[in-house]
């Protein structure tokens, strides 16, 4: 077969496998490629380039005879090159870290080769003479019809078993996964060795598929076991958070109760005083008393009750936990905090971890500004509003400003007035938001207040 003919058929075959790769990688990583709509042209161009280069290398390898090296070393070399290419390609597509891309690439390669091997299982003999038309047609049938069919079955299987989620959990795991990574990375070599060992055992038929299957099963077990462990750990963490939250809740209820008790005590005293005045007919004093009492009650008990009702409207556990934590911090710093949640807030399009990070940064910014400003006017107070409307959710954090610093300086990357964290906080805030299309951030100075807003289109 001529060089070009081979190149073209390679390209065709690779197009199919790259399309599958895209599909499976989306399942695996659980999202679409980064900024797919905006980078449409770039992504298509890169895909074509990737396919062509891969096909070209494959053709050259075939022609030069590298595939006929001893111990299938050429094949292994080619697989590694392909996997490296796939890793770069995935990195370009998803902007995930390189390790994730590498593991995904190896995993994809495993699925692909398994599909091919299963396909070959149905064929009478393994080697095709591409120069003979009949055999070539059979080869094409296997390559372009059967393999994709098996891959489709694979995708459905992956979808059903939720491997993607397990994979993501495994990736998020912090403990060392070096051994698993090395094991997975060695797949082409190990599978080849296994294959030879099986062959030496003189087993009948083609056991390549069995070998890949074995390997895949092991990898599944790794993902599954480690992923599940991670899941359990996460569950424990959320339980702990909710425990802490409940403790904080109980504490504030107790505080409320003790305040009520104190108030009741005062109120009894005042009542008897009023009784005397009423007896003497001093109506003005009685009126004053009633007024004092109502506003006093409001002031003393109102704030606690208010905060608890507002918190009760937040139905996202993580956000509630974050706010309770920040409120605690503010209390320690003697910053008063007002929270306003008019309508129940139960979900948003932002990923919960991202939302918590963003809110944390905004609130920390506000705390930074009012920290240590006790006794100054206006009093150090942070006002947090969460407003869920039908079409969008708004988070607003407002704090008084005490100096006349330039607005953009508070709101620019890398700037810091106190310590180095501040600028970094905002930088990461911006970089989180860059991943979302329907999230808007605003910052304003109005009437001596600094107002930060985060709006999410729902």
């Amino acid at each position: 077969m001529s060089f070009w003919g081979l190149f073209c058929s390679n390209t065709f075959g690779l197009t199919i496998s790259v399309l599958f790769m895209l599909w499976i990688s989306m399942l695996l990583l659980g999202r679409k490629p980064y900024q797919i709509r905006e980078r449409k042209v770039k992504i298509i161009a890169c895909t074509i380039l990737f396919i062509c280069v891969w096909a070209l290398i494959g053709t050259i390898f075939y022609k030069v005879g590298i595939f006929r090296w001893r111990y299938n070393a050429g094949q292994i070399l080619f697989t590694y090159m392909g996997m490296t290419g796939a890793m770069s390609y995935l990195y370009f597509l998803y902007r995930e870290n390189l390790l994730t891309c590498w593991i995904s690439a190896v995993f994809l390669e495993m699925l692909e080769s398994f599909a091919v091997h299963i396909g070959v299982l149905f064929s009478p003999n393994m080697t095709f003479h591409l120069d003979i038309l009949g055999e070539r047609l059979i080869y094409y049938f296997f390559l372009y019809v059967l393999t994709p069919l098996i891959e489709i079955i694979w995708v459905l299987l992956l979808y059903k078993t939720g491997v993607g989620k397990m994979f993501r959990l495994w990736i998020e795991r912090k403990e060392s996964k070096k051994v698993s990574i090395i094991f997975i990375s060695l797949y082409p070599i190990l599978s080849e060795i296994l294959y030879y060992m099986v062959q030496i055992g003189e087993r009948v038929g083609n056991d390549n598929a069995v070998v890949s299957l074995l390997y895949l099963l092991i990898v599944f077990i790794i993902f599954g076991y480690a992923g599940r462990q991670e899941m359990q750990k996460k569950q424990i963490q959320t339980q702990q958070i909710s425990m802490q939250q409940q403790n904080a809740y109980i504490e504030s209820l107790e505080k409320l109760q003790s305040e009520m008790r104190r108030f009741r005590h005062d109120y009894k005293n005042m009542m008897s005083g009023m009784y005397l005045q009423a007896k003497e007919g001093n109506m003005e004093a009685v009126q004053n008393f009633i007024q004092d009492m109502t506003s006093d009650f409001d002031y003393q008990v109102g704030e606690q009750i208010r905060r608890l009702t507002q918190l009760g409207n937040i139905h996202m556990l993580e956000v509630k936990g974050l706010l309770l934590g920040k409120m605690e911090k503010m209390q320690q710093e003697q910053i008063s905090c007002e929270l306003e949640v008019l309508r129940p807030f139960d979900r948003t399009r932002l990923r919960t971890t991202d939302l918590c990070r963003c809110l944390g940064i905004l609130i920390d910014n506000a705390i930074d500004e009012v920290q240590g400003k006790k006794g100054k006017k206006p009093k150090p107070q942070i006002h947090i509003m969460i407003s869920s409307q039908e079409e969008c959710t708004t988070f607003q954090v407002r704090n008084p400003l005490y100096s006349n610093i330039d607005f953009h300086k508070i709101w620019q990357q890398g700037y810091s007035t106190r310590g180095a964290d501040r600028g970094i906080g905002l930088a990461s805030y911006k970089s989180i938001l860059e991943h979302y299309e329907n999230v808007f951030s605003l910052a304003t100075i109005r009437d001596g207040y600094f107002i930060q807003e985060l709006k999410i289109q729902e």
Binding site: Q35, R37, E38, Q291, T294, D298, G302, I305, R306, Q310, E338, E340, V341, L342, H383, M385, S387, Q389, E391, C392, T394, Q396, R398, D406, F407, H408, K409, W411, Q412, E434, E437, F440, S441, L442, A443, T444, I445, R446, K455, Q457
Partner: protein, 244 residues
């Protein structure tokens, strides 16, 4: 003439409010008139829809036995009267006022527990409204109006430093003296809109030439009045120098 609308489900309070407002308008000679006092929000909406113009609204937050509360009523009114004055009257002092102010641009809220205080609050608001109307008449500022999802912001054009393109497509960042707003827009359209004082000095920047403090020709940087920096491209140097 500003029409005044009152929506209040308690007939006694409604009557007291009406009487007080009528008296105040007479005494102070305000250019206002009570258009409608009602216990039903629907009537208010119909009246506003029939004759939409800038008005003053005193709205009860909690409306018993009605399909909507004060917040929803405010939203309906805003559809017809974007610049009117909304004042909320509530029996609970812990109203989520920031939310009302944020979404409805409500002017104030008054607690009705004590009738003297309530009327004093109404009086204060009438004074504030009059003052605001006077101020607005004298003002001839040009504003840039930008919509971000459900809210609209007006930024004085002479406070805008520059517009910058964002990493995300069709997204523009507005940098002004007191604002930083991220919105959906197109540089081309902004360029057309602000032909007079703004110059597209770089692929990513549309700069207000009146706000330039100095040029760093070596690094091709522009320092704005507020201390922010932006870049300019080589072939814009000539035009930039001639415009400032």
């Amino acid at each position: 003439m500003l029409p005044i609308y009152i929506c209040e489900d308690d007939a006694m309070i409604l009557a007291a409010q009406k009487k007080f407002l009528e008296k105040q308008i007479m005494m102070e000679g305000y250019d206002m008139q009570i258009a409608l006092c009602s216990r039903h929000p629907q009537e208010i909406i119909e009246a506003v829809a029939a004759d939409p113009k800038r008005g003053i609204y005193f709205l009860d937050v909690e409306l018993k036995d009605e399909p909507m509360d004060g917040f929803m009523l405010g939203q309906q009114i805003r559809k017809f009267d974007a610049r009117g004055f909304l004042i909320y009257v509530t029996s609970f002092p812990d109203l989520a006022f920031e939310t009302f102010r944020y979404h409805l641009e409500a002017l104030d809220y008054i607690v009705k527990g004590n009738s003297e205080k309530m009327l004093a609050g109404m009086y204060k608001n009438l004074a504030i409204i009059t003052e605001r109307m006077c101020k607005e008449q004298g003002e001839q500022k040009e504003y840039f109006t930008v919509k971000v999802l459900d809210i609209v912001r007006h930024v004085p054009v002479d406070e805008i430093m520059f517009f910058e393109t964002s990493v995300r497509t069709h997204r523009i960042e507005l940098h002004a003296k007191n604002d930083c707003i991220d919105f959906i827009g197109s540089m081309q359209e902004l360029q057309e809109q602000f032909r007079e004082h703004f110059l597209r000095v770089h692929r990513s920047y549309l700069v207000n030439v009146n706000k330039i403090q100095e040029l760093d020709l070596k690094h091709r940087e522009i320092l704005m009045d507020n201390g922010e920096k932006c870049l300019f491209s080589k072939n814009m140097k000539g035009e930039l120098l001639s415009r400032i």
